[in-house]
């Protein structure tokens, strides 16, 4: 290949094409090209999701407003999630108390049960378990509903009726989830601690008054603050993933199914990742 041709090839052809055309295109280069392509795809997705979230947030402050839609979503995300959140919290709190009691007995530290249960529930298990349960229930439902609207042209119909889908569909869901999750987590924290208390008092023989007193004394405002910050962040990701994947779905029923799966999986990953990052940030 002449020098001029090589320069032209480098300037105008994509990397993959250049490699295919180059006589030296061997496995190691293909390997790095594949990594590069995957990295570009990841950054492109992050860019699209960020733009999507930005549009929803900005347009939420431009009239017309939809407070009734947000209230409906609050009911859907918050109220209807209460049974599953309550059951998860009470069973987890009780199991946690039992585990800590058994583990603690190896170090003669059974008395640490109330403190570890309350801190474990409030800082970590409450927000994470509520986030995961609500993501499973709500992200999938949002992706399925908005995805179905996409494939049945209801989103196009909104646009022709001069209604912005971001204001009408996306913003109410995002804001409702950010409000509902902290409330759900507060309730789950109380129920989780109650689960631990019931097991500790009625099965393990703890004194009821001293259990509650220890739990109250150990808990600090920072613990609660972390719990609520995590909950709000998780709520944002749950709604964002449900809406984003639903909005971008295509290809009929199969496309909606794929969007639903992607919404739940990506919400789970973002909840666990952001939980780690918030925890690290809080404790340096």
């Amino acid at each position: 290949m002449s020098g001029t041709a090589a320069v032209a090839l480098h300037a105008f052809c994509p990397l993959s094409a250049r490699m295919a055309m180059s006589s030296g295109a061997e496995a190691p280069i293909r390997f790095f090209a594949a990594i590069g392509a995957a990295a570009i795809a990841v950054f492109a997705t992050i860019g699209r999701v960020t733009l999507f979230a930005w549009q929803a947030i900005v347009r939420a402050f431009i009239p017309p407003y939809y407070p009734l839609r947000m209230f409906e979503q609050l009911l859907h995300i918050g109220w209807y999630s209460l049974p599953v959140v309550g059951l998860t919290a009470i069973f987890t709190g009780a199991a946690l108390a039992q585990q800590i009691y058994v583990g603690g007995s190896r170090l003669s530290a059974q008395s640490a049960v109330p403190a570890i249960v309350v801190i474990g529930i409030v800082r970590e298990l409450g927000p994470v378990l509520v986030g995961l349960m609500v993501a499973g229930r709500v992200s999938s439902a949002m992706a399925a509903e908005i995805g179905t609207m996409r494939v049945t042209e209801q989103l196009d119909a909104l646009a022709t009726l001069r209604t912005d889908p971001f204001r009408f569909l996306i913003a109410p869901r995002l804001f409702a989830a950010v409000i509902a999750l902290p409330i759900l987590v507060l309730i789950a924290n109380v129920i989780g601690v109650l689960g631990g208390y019931l097991l500790a008092v009625y099965k393990l023989g703890f004194n009821a008054v001293s259990y509650l007193e220890t739990s109250r004394r150990v808990l600090e405002p920072d613990d609660l603050q972390m719990s609520l910050v995590k909950a709000a962040v998780f709520g944002f990701f749950i709604a964002l993933m449900g809406c984003y994947h639903g909005f971008r779905s295509s290809g009929g029923a199969a496309g909606v199914g794929k969007a639903t799966t992607n919404a739940v999986v990506s919400a789970f990953v973002l909840i666990l990742l952001s939980n780690l990052l918030i925890t690290i940030a809080a404790f340096g």
Binding site: P64, Y66, L68, R69, E145, T148, M149, T152, E153, Q154, D156, A157, L158, A159, T160, L161, R162, T163, F168
Partner: protein
């Protein structure tokens, strides 16, 4: 008569697949025109470009002399206010009752003045031959034909200047299809609306349109009065309107 919609050299491709390749069409004010063509020839893409739902790769679409292609979101939203649209599948909002679907364009989805809106919905439903008994039903409780009529009522409720019909008779039996055709004719005549219909139903095209245009290979290859549809002298149009397997269209 002034030109309401001027489509000039509109081209659109998807992943290298050319769908529209320089389509040209003028639609005059108060005129009803039907665009015919095979499935997959870009009729729906054309209508979505006219509405600003898709951006053409090149070309121009003028609505009352104002450019839709590349216009800002405020201009697009204002120009869309001139349109009503009947979607192929109805595209009614599942989560809302019929009366809120019909008045959606007037309220932009908000719950404003319900008593007045119910009355307006009733009035528009009556125009398409439906009664007040369906006001509170959900779209899923209606038959396909009724959904089409509710969608038609929703499209005309804001009194648009232009109405677009995407395969209005698809999926309906011949009698119900004719009912929809009659409704479209009466609405266009009574309200003086400019209409653009895309269809491959020849009976529908002949009944509802003043003029017919054929889209093939991404371009409008013929247009003329509906009375000339079966005597165009164009082999592509002849093959299509007569529904023959043999001919230049493969």
């Amino acid at each position: 008569m002034s030109v309401k919609i001027a489509i000039r050299g509109v081209a659109k491709s998807f992943n290298g697949n050319v769908v529209l390749d320089g389509a040209d069409l003028d639609i005059e004010t108060g005129e009803s025109i039907a665009v015919i063509g095979q499935s997959g020839t870009g009729k729906s893409v054309l209508i979505k470009c006219v509405l600003g739902l898709l951006q053409p790769d090149r070309g121009s679409i003028l609505i009352d002399g104002e450019e839709m292609v590349g216009a800002g979101s405020r201009t697009v939203e204002r120009l869309r206010g001139k349109f009503g649209m009947l979607f192929q599948g109805g595209a009614l909002f599942d989560s809302l009752p019929v009366w809120r679907n019909v008045t959606f364009g007037l309220t932009q989805g908000r719950l404003i003045n319900p008593a007045r809106m119910r009355a307006l919905a009733e009035e528009n439903l009556e125009r398409v031959g439906l009664g007040r008994d369906i006001l509170d039903l959900r779209p899923s409780e209606l038959s396909g034909g009724m959904q089409k009529r509710v969608s038609l009522a929703r499209a005309v409720a804001p009194r648009p200047e232009i109405i677009l019909f995407d395969e209005p008779t698809t999926g309906l039996d011949p009698i119900r299809a004719d009912v929809i055709n009659d409704l479209i004719v009466s609405l266009v005549e009574d309200l003086g609306i400019t209409a653009l219909t895309i269809t491959h139903d020849m009976a529908s095209a002949r009944k509802i349109a003043h003029r017919v245009a054929m889209l093939y290979g991404g371009r409008i290859i013929w247009h003329g009065p509906r009375d000339r549809l079966y005597a165009t002298g164009n082999p592509y149009v002849d093959q299509f309107v007569q529904g023959r397997a043999e001919g230049p269209i493969r």
